[in-house]
Amino acid sequence: MSGVGGGTPITGDATMRQALSQPATGRGRRRGGSTLIWWIVFLLGVAYFVIPLWSTFTFSLRAEPFGSAYTNTLDDPQFGKTLLYSFVVGVITVVVSIGLLVPTAFWVRLRVPRLRRTVEFITLLPFVIPPILLVFGLIRSYSTGPLPLTNTDIGSSALLVAAYTVVSFPYMYRAVDVGLRSIDVQSLTEASQSLGAGWLRILWSVILPNLRVSLIAGAFLTLAIVIGEFTIATFLARPAFGPYLALIGGNKAYEPAAVSLISFVLTWIAMGVIQYIGRGTRVSVAGAR
């Protein structure tokens, strides 16, 4: 077992590196005065992060009787209904996005590398076409003509999934691409083929399991964004969670504080899962702002 033998030098190396970094720590201590400034910078930032959350929290507790902002929110059937709708739309979006991007990225890597730049370019386009422009174009394209999707409920929901899938392209593709880069696609494919596997079988039983970690991270990011998304859902007149939040804000006093915090916690859960799986190296720049 060479793996066990290989473990010792690594530990030794780590100890050595620690020993080497000692003088640097000493130097850091010499700069004690500047550390104080960094503490002030840090605490100022933390205050800015925390105060709005704290204000929202205390405001939500002012409702009489105590805690009624939360119980009223949870008792409102629309709350659960819209949240469920957005969740289902999010899950379908994830499935569609993975179903489109994994085979494409796989095929481009294996068979048509010259298409790589084109595919990359298309998956980055949603950064240039923000949600408000995307929904503008979609509504104008699909309210009349050969595919009048916005005329029916199911059609509008399908359009919503399509729009979210497009929004998820930049980071989903990156997740897939990073995942594929870390495995030897060529050898895995050839090995599977020599065992008699077809393309679907290779994708499903060999490639997908290898991409699991990066795909789950991308999936939760998509969910977090889709569940609170407002712009696209509003203009497609969907009974989604984002428009529901805005509606509450216009009609109620304390409940908006409660739902804001609840949705912050939901984002926290989704991001927590990503951090746990991906160990916090991913950067996400897409979002429903």
Binding site: T35, W38, W39, V41, F42, G45, Y48, F49, I51, P52, L53, S55, T56, G99, L100, L101, P103, W107, R111, V112, L115, I122, L124, L125, F127, P130, I132, L133, L134, V135, F136, G137, L138, S141, L159, A163, T165, V166, F169, L221, F230, T231, F235, G242, L245, G249, P256, A257, V259, S260, S263, F264, W268, M271, G280, S284, V285, G287, A288, R289
Partner: protein, 287 residues
Amino acid sequence: MGPRAGRRAIYTWVGVVPFFLFSLLFLILPTLYLVVGSFLDKRGAPTLQNYADLLGPQTIRTYMNGIEISAVSAIAGCVFGFLMAYAVILGGLPRPLRTALMTFSGVASNFAGVPLAFAFVFTVGRVGLATLFLRDVLGIDIYGAGFTIYSKIGLEVVYFYFQLPLMILIIAPAIDGLKKEWREAAENMGATPAEYWRLVALPILTPPLLGSAILLFANAFGAQATAFALTGGSLDIPTIAISRQIRGDVLFNEGLGYALAMGMVVIMAVSIGLYTILQRRSERWLR
């Protein structure tokens, strides 16, 4: 080309057809619809009038508002985000604080839209907690001084909430990439801290800093939900103006709506393009 070669060619392409078809239907065609529409008048005849209207004082003001809000929140986010990331990475703060800040930034950069707008109404709205604290305890009446959360400065304060954590996330790798050896080498050759910053650290950090600022700018410029939830569509910025065009309000002018959209596409494309170039430049030193 025989039938077999033809079938092979089709076979090669078939794997990418679903993706291209989907992108064509739900990304390219809708965008093209806006492009074409911006060159047509009400009766469908070709015209450049929409772009002439785009240069009217009203729309120019709309764009200037959007650019101002995005630029201010981007520069503020860039400067303070860099300082905060530097504080937890190289500022001598305990290591766990860095992990905590990065995790929180991941959440906060995605905490936007309607809930974020609400949170700030409860904080610096007319009866917000911070507003009342400043007025009753410190004697500073920010609303008396002309501040309102429904204004440009108000929106900048709110946008800063997702700009700051985004900056922390994207600049952290660059700060991590500043090698200790560079500083030591500079000090060995007698450089003062100021000289080290001016001649070594800042030149290396300039591309990532500029790139991040541009990305933050694009991030704010394309934002609609937060501004819409906060001001109910009264503030004059491009995304809100387009919202009104989609709804079809009093000033409804279909062609102008498409031209407004094109103006946004151009600004976003230039920003993202510049960002990509700067990104490539920063990779030369920081890996």
